[in-house]
Symmetry: C2
């Protein structure tokens, strides 16, 4: 029996996951937390074979949580659960040492297969994610630059734009010159292949660079 820890903020989804697995599935969720901070202590209390980690959580998101527990010396195989099909998250999750990535609109058999694969320390990608990974490395080979890797500063600029600030306001807020803000914005727009700030914000939200509400 594979013993799983579920890190997921949506209670209803978590409840569902817990009661979903039958004895014949060979999987059981032995612990659940809505809070990334509680993860380490749960990993100590229970004998966990695999972590099921939601990416989209407020306060402490899945990728950050993963980074944190790896840093503390835990090395549990981890399956990332998300609604986002974005390469950004896949890439970040892989960098932090996740073994697998599955979308929330996957089927139960797919999830079971994913959990079994990951708990055996093999990599699992949901078919829909696989396409993205393929595209990613194909583009990477071409452009060397690796899609759209935004710097922290650039993400900061995007957040300001999304909050309705213009160049001058951003310059004041970040204590830099208006020229610099303009340069950043232009670089971001090039990287993301968009033509207006409005489209920039849309893309950023879809890719999870900006958190929702």
């Amino acid at each position: 029996m594979i013993q799983a820890l579920l890190v997921e903020d949506h209670d209803l989804f978590a409840e569902g996951m817990k009661s979903m697995f039958q004895p014949e599935d060979g999987i059981t969720i032995v612990a659940h937390t809505k809070n990334g901070h509680e993860t380490p202590s749960l990993l100590e209390e229970h004998q966990i074979d695999v972590i099921l980690m939601d990416i989209d959580m407020p306060i402490l998101d899945g990728v950050t949580t993963l980074k944190m527990i790896k840093k503390r010396g835990f090395d549990h195989p981890t399956l990332m659960l998300t609604m986002h099909q974005s390469m950004r998250f896949v890439k970040e999750a892989l960098e932090k040492g996740a073994q697998g990535y599955i979308l929330k609109d996957a089927s139960k058999p797919e999830l079971i297969e994913a959990i079994r694969t990951v708990s055996a320390r093999k990599n699992y990608f949901h078919p829909k994610v696989n396409e993205q990974v393929f595209d990613y490395f194909r583009n990477r080979g071409k452009s060397q630059s690796g899609l759209n890797e935004l710097s922290e500063r650039e993400k900061e600029i995007i957040k300001c734009l999304a909050e309705g600030m213009n160049s001058k306001a951003i310059a004041n807020a970040l204590c830099i010159s208006e020229h610099t803000v303009k340069t950043h914005r232009r670089n971001i727009m090039h990287k993301m292949h968009v033509n207006t700030s409005a489209e920039l914000v849309r893309q950023a939200m879809e890719q999870g660079i900006i958190e929702m509400g």
Copy 2:
């Protein structure tokens, strides 16, 4: 035993919901569809006491589905399930005849209470939603205008803006003059209390006016 129909596109969430209810809960999900279009035939095939309707679905969203089945003469009590805490959705769902509204981060007991309440044809609001409803009517009393009721045309303009179109491109796409586009955009920005198109798009996405990729 309350017999429920679940309309939900995320397979994993649906699977979870199905296996979540125990006999002592007095609730069972007798049918599930990922597709709003299938709802009417399922309502005919099964004896359904309550519909659990996800709002955030591609192709045919929950509110549209609800409108469609009401139009076809079905009058099942319906509980809307969503991640959005936005007043816009609450309002639309109510207008289309939903009996209740619950967020996906509710707890299992809350969900059970909601289903029981709605199936008895009483109204149910999740506490978090209740605040919004209260705010809404309080503002409504003040301003008479009712928060930010965007016209269909205005929503169309927003979608174009989010796709990176400028006034000229939107004017061409919608076969109207550039002046008109400008007027619309200005009206929208007033209604939504934002100062830039970028912020406009952010707000629109948070309120669900624009669907996510």
